[in-house]
């Protein structure tokens, strides 16, 4: 029997961007009419409903922007993209105004030059300019635009807002650096259905704050970090835990080990100026050893362990269907877990009890691996390199200390922190020789690699689930239809004569739509994968900040290439997995694996921070 994976059965739902704005690409406007527009004297046939900004781009004219974010935010708030439209006395925002037949636009007139420069000068008068000691460095969009506009002095009296924030929370907001572009509000409202950020105060005192003036730790913030990766400045950033890592490395009594999550290998070189070809995972292994970390392991290994447990759990639930509520949801994304606990608590029991790969790794490192090393697990400082902000919260949960009583994972670092860790040691990455992971926790299958992309966990689970039900391996690419950047995918696969209906969503706004559809009886699935960040972990809130809208697809491709080149394509065939069950866990869902590899999602309450 062969798995049925008919691409026609997979449909992309709600494939539009989370906040559907008007059509601004050639594809979107293929059927709409044309209008003749002149931009800086160049004739261009733009499409109806196109913004001035998009039409200018078609004409090869670049208009600077600041608050604008494609497909997400175009409030026309910063007034940097203003242009002159013939016949109009006042300037017009290019980002959110449409072209019309015969429109003549000029982007570099005296009026425009003065206004956009002055508007940035005004923003600088309220911005806490600390460029020399700011984590955003060269990626700060305010700094870039100020430099581009040749601003060399601010003629207004400086005033800045007083930042008040809980510095222990994984997400840090510095009000003194906020330029009120409203991107975070839009991301949280529309992309992530979380509504944490809101307009604060009124009139000239208007800014951004936590909705209802709540302290962040009492809000339902999922800690997904998407507001950080969309923030133009360092007004939003991660809690920096790099010094804790350096302290552990410097402590002779401590043994440091680190796990590298799948998607970290796709992006770690981006902000270090390393080509994608050079920024391999084995060069990252070498760099982390050079920094002084004792053992470098692969989260792919525990991704395989997760699949083994989660696929077994699914088969167990599926063969006792009446005992469970449906569908079963994946549980490896901590921001998703926080979101569902906060917003749909009645759905929590549908989450798989399997821990995330990060936490399975931590529990295994401080039990199985500590035994293998013959050391007291309390001497181990367990680190993780993650694409994620919520992992900082997850590792500190009271339910995540199963191996020896202390935290199973001590410090979770985002890719941005990993990069800062490496950067500060001035390692010559270009000439650094690649090194292998340590064993045995450094062996991972291709199924583990793809955990970092939307659809990856589902595909990996289906590969092994099929094996558990049918007894033979399917074609490893039999479930490839679940790949891709669409925000809501669904398919039905035949497992030994039984149809299994699966769905995949990424972005919590899409998760919200999917859950509402399930509640309304409009959708019915057996197994659903949710990742909080659009595109999955490759688009994670802990990833390097990039304005390249195609970055998620580029990072995903790295993972699928690694998968197809991996000697092992199935989690259950990973020899280290086979070995750890033989030597330690016995079998999936055993008592020991329940203790170390599964968790009670009801064991802590939201907001718990």
């Amino acid at each position: 029997m062969v798995a049925k994976s008919n691409p026609k059965e997979t449909k992309a739902k709600a494939a539009k961007e989370p906040n559907p704005k008007e059509a601004n690409t050639v594809e979107d406007t293929a059927n709409s009419g044309r209008v003749n527009v002149t931009i800086n004297g160049r004739q261009v046939q733009a499409f109806e409903n196109m913004t001035i900004l998009a039409a200018a781009s078609m004409a090869g004219v670049k208009i600077p922007t600041l608050c604008f974010y494609w497909g997400l935010n175009d409030p026309g708030a910063c007034r940097v993209c203003v242009v002159e439209v013939e016949g109009e006395d006042q300037l017009v925002a290019a980002c959110n105004n449409k072209v019309y037949e015969g429109m003549a636009v000029k982007t570099n007139t005296a009026k425009v030059r003065k206004a956009r420069k002055l508007n940035v000068e005004l923003l600088l008068s309220q911005h806490n300019v600390q460029c020399t000691s700011c984590v955003r460095g060269g990626s700060c969009e305010l700094r870039l635009i100020a430099n581009d506009l040749n601003i060399s002095e601010v003629r207004f009296r400086k005033g800045k807002k007083k930042p008040v924030w809980n510095r222990d929370f994984p997400l840090i907001r510095d009000a003194s650096k906020c330029i009120a572009c409203w991107r975070c509000v839009q991301v949280c409202d529309n992309m992530q259905a979380s509504h944490i950020w809101a307009m604060k105060n009124r009139a000239t005192h208007t800014g951004v704050g936590v909705a209802k003036a709540q302290p962040i730790e009492q809000s339902l913030c999922t800690i997904c970090g998407q507001c950080i990766t969309h923030c133009p400045t360092a007004a939003l950033k991660e809690r920096d835990d790099v010094d804790r890592v350096l302290d552990a490395i410097a402590d002779p009594d401590k043994i440091t080990l680190i796990q590298i999550a799948p998607s970290v290998r796709t992006s770690w070189g981006e902000s270090l100026g390393l080509d994608r070809e050079k920024a391999t995972v084995n060069r990252l292994v070498a760099a982390l050893r050079a920094v002084g970390i004792d053992y470098v392991f692969d989260t792919d290994f525990t991704a395989d362990l997760t699949i083994t447990e989660e696929a077994s759990e699914f088969v167990e639930r599926f063969t006792h269907k009446d005992s469970y509520s449906w569908p079963m949801f994946t549980s490896c994304c901590p921001a998703w877990v926080r979101w569902v606990k906060g917003n749909h608590p009645e759905m929590v029991d549908r989450l798989s009890t399997a821990k995330s790969p990060q936490q399975m790794f931590g529990a295994t490192a401080k039990s199985y691996y500590a035994q293998a090393l013959g050391v007291d697990p309390c001497r181990i400082v367990s680190l993780s390199a993650m694409p994620c902000l919520a992992k900082k919260h997850e590792c500190a949960l009271p339910t995540m200390n199963d191996a020896c009583g202390a935290q199973d994972v001590d410090v979770a670092l985002t890719v941005r922190e990993i990069d800062r860790l490496i950067c500060a040691d001035f390692i010559d990455l270009e000439n650094l020789a690649e090194e292998d992971f340590d064993e045995p926790l450094g062996i991972g299958s291709g199924a583990g690699e793809i955990f970092g992309a939307t659809g990856g966990v589902m595909e990996a689970a289906l590969r092994s689930g099929y094996y558990y039900v049918v007894g033979t391996n399917p074609d490893p690419d039999a479930f490839a239809v679940v790949r891709g950047q669409e925000s809501w995918k669904e398919a039905t696969f035949d497992l030994a004569g039984t149809p299994v209906r699966i769905a995949i969503a990424s972005g919590l706004g899409n998760a919200e739509k999917l859950i509402e559809a399930i509640k309304a009886g409009e959708a019915d699935y057996d197994f659903v994968e949710i990742m909080a960040c659009p595109g999955g972990c490759v688009g994670g809130g802990g990833q390097p900040i990039s304005k390249d809208l195609g970055i998620r697809a580029k990072r995903s491709k790295v993972l699928y290439d690694l998968d197809s080149n991996n000697a092992y394509r199935f989690s259950h065939e990973n020899p280290a997995i086979v070995k750890i069950y033989d030597e330690f866990f016995g079998k999936p869902l055993s008592e020991k694996s329940h203790h170390l590899l599964h968790t009670d999602h009801q064991g802590w309450g939201m907001p718990n921070a």
Binding site: Y100, K200, N201, R202, A203, G209
Partner: protein, 622 residues
């Protein structure tokens, strides 16, 4: 100072311009202004007028503004055991300026600030304690916020400008089923908020709606078949009794029908429409237009039983038992009485009774008669003009306050006067003379205007001699009450005659019974009643266990930038000619096409510019 009767200097003119702009801005206001921001701005403006002589005003007002700014900047101290904090100091300072300033520049400013701190203490404390504002920020489009029913004004203005009249009227009906009635008679609170008022006068929103209604398929002149509003749900088999068929009742019934329910209207009168028919004269709202609109609404699946009085012909309990829910929207149809001698004489008619008779086609003949109307509200103007149309020889409106104190809209008063009604303001009725039981005159006591209480100027006896007017008819238009006695007996809680409903239209302790419109709010406007009906439909749908959306999402034309040229507002005209007041034909003439196009282009498109761009300029469903 040199004596001068000469022309103003450029500087004087500029200052006057700024004051005028300040007045215009203040008129437009903003529904979501933070009271603390407003207090700060007011105190600073007032301080700019200080002559600088005295300490409390010169220094005190500046310090007062500074303290309020500390509140806004998160730099204020909260009240604690250690002391009253910043708010205490603000109160102490404002009171001291009030008590010790030498002239009104200082003490009036301080009095306003003091009142603001007292009235908005919660807002001030929220700012101090949380450095945030508790006023709702979700009001991106001022006219939409100003409309009780939240009609998408910029949307239908843009559709009208594009010649898409059917879509425009349908878009109005997403939030207000009475698109036609409101095109003719809405009090247009939206225009009070219109941001164009900051530039050169609010957009004449109602005139544009009228223009669209005149041309839409299911507008003022129906060109059937009906284009039914999209019904968003399968039939639910839920039956709802709606008591009263005025704007509140019919609105609720319409949306409940669109939601898939089966509303049944109980109307005590012979015809549907409530105050639209029995309160508003035909020369303002032609009966053909009203009938067509009601027919259109009924076509969505509303059953109507007329001449059935709940409490008399059928008991409320019966409805409660026989239906899944009950909505009470009985209006305010009982007349207030003058309480003076001779009030029971033949020829003394309440405004409510007269308009009801006219509404049912039983209009009395006033040919050759002298009529005195008592009152100064819109209803007084309506009955005065109706009396003219019923043949009255002479109509005089007697009002005890000044003309400017009348609650009637200025345009209504002007129209009544233009049609030939006499106006005797500052005259209070004290007795009605009768001969053989029939009115022959009314005594009026001249008044003088006096102190202001609760914001209203009170009249008092001026000491001048009484005046007696000969007349045959006295029309009493001094307010309406709610005829809620039968419902009170059925166990419905009332307060001063008004039915008590909690937020969401539900009645305390009466599951499944809802109420709204004039019978809850007291006599108000059509659009307020529509808003109540809409809220009731949502509440009843929720009570029945549903959440049916009402939506309509036409493609709204993109805004252009031509609206920034200063351009005066176009007004509709009342029909010219000295015979207009002799017929019940519609007196108001719509805008001409060029006027409508220009007027629609004055819309600043706040759905797109300003906060609309951030929060989205429209709610496509509710």
């Amino acid at each position: 100072m040199p004596l001068s009767g000469q022309e103003k200097t450029a500087a004087q003119r500029s200052i006057e311009d700024i004051y005028q702009k300040l007045g215009e801005r203040a008129q437009v206001g903003a529904t979501t202004t933070c009271p603390v921001e407003l207090t700060s701005a007011f105190v600073k403006m007032a301080a700019s007028q200080s002559c600088g002589k005295c300490v409390p005003c010169r220094i005190g007002l500046a310090k007062l503004a500074g303290l309020v700014d500390e509140v806004l900047e998160g730099a204020a101290t909260a009240a604690s055991e250690a002391g009253e904090g910043t708010i205490g100091l603000i109160e102490e300072l404002a009171e001291s300026i009030y008590l010790s300033a030498d002239c009104a520049i200082g003490y009036e400013a301080a009095a306003v600030a003091y009142t603001a701190v007292k009235a908005f203490r919660e807002d001030f404390c929220y700012h101090i304690e949380r450095n945030d504002c508790m006023a709702d920020a979700f009001a991106p489009v001022p006219c939409v916020t100003g409309c009780p029913a939240g009609v998408d004004v910029p949307g239908y203005l843009a559709l009208t400008a594009a010649g898409r009249y059917d879509d425009a009227i349908k878009l109005v009906r997403k939030d207000n089923p009475f698109a036609v009635a409101c095109a003719l008679i809405c009090e247009h609170p939206c225009e009070m908020q219109c941001r164009r008022g900051m530039v050169d006068g609010p957009v004449n929103i109602r005139a544009i709606k009228r223009f669209a209604a005149d041309r839409a398929q299911n507008g003022i002149t129906n060109t059937a078949p009906f284009q039914l509003f999209p019904r968003n749900a399968e039939p639910t088999e839920k039956r709802i009794a709606v008591v009263g068929s005025g704007p509140a009742g019919l609105t609720a019934a319409f949306y409940l029908a669109c939601m898939g329910h089966a509303p049944v209207i109980y109307e005590q009168r012979a015809q549907l429409g409530g105050m639209l028919r029995y309160g508003i004269p035909a020369y303002r709202l032609p009966r053909e237009a009203l009938d067509a609109e009601i027919d259109y609404l009924l076509a969505h699946g509303i059953e109507a039983k007329t001449s059935v009085s709940v409490g008399k012909d059928v008991a409320l309990d019966e409805l409660h038992a026989g239906y899944d829910a009950v909505y009470l929207a009985i209006g305010a149809h009982a007349a207030s009485r003058l309480g003076i001698d001779g009030e029971d004489a033949q020829g003394v008619i309440s405004a409510v009774d007269l308009l009801r008779l006219v509404g049912d086609g039983d209009a009395p003949d006033f040919s050759g008669k002298g009529v005195v109307v008592v009152g100064g509200g819109n209803v007084a103007m309506d009955v005065a003009r109706t009396a003219l149309r019923l043949g009255a020889d002479k109509v005089t409106i007697a009002y005890r306050r000044r003309k400017q104190d009348m609650t009637a809209q200025a345009a209504e008063v002007e129209a009544a006067v233009a049609e030939g009604c006499g106006l005797l303001d500052l005259h209070a009725p004290v007795g009605i003379q009768a001969k053989g039981g029939t009115v022959c005159g009314i005594s009026l006591q001249p008044q003088m205007i006096s102190v202001i209480e609760k914001g209203r100027a009170l009249p008092k006896d001026s000491g001048a001699d009484r005046l007696t007017l000969d007349c045959d008819i006295v029309l009493v238009a001094i307010g309406q009450r709610i005829d809620s006695g039968a419902f009170e007996q059925a166990g419905i809680e009332t307060s001063c005659g008004r039915i008590v409903a909690t937020g969401g239209a539900g009645l305390p302790g009466k599951a499944g019974v809802f109420a709204g419109g004039d019978c809850v709010t007291g006599p108000a406007t059509v659009i307020r009643a529509v808003a109540d009906g809409k809220a009731a439909a949502r509440a009843i749908d929720g009570y029945l266990g549903f959440a049916h959306p009402i939506s309509f999402e036409p493609d709204i034309p993109a805004p252009f930038f031509k609206s920034r040229i200063h351009c005066a507002r176009s007004n509709m005209t009342e029909l010219a000619g000295k015979d207009a007041h002799k017929s019940f034909d519609l007196v108001e003439a719509g805008l001409l096409p060029d006027e409508a196009a220009q007027e629609a282009s004055r819309c600043l498109r706040c759905d797109h510019f300003g906060l609309g761009a951030l929060r989205g300029g429209r709610q496509v469903s509710w």
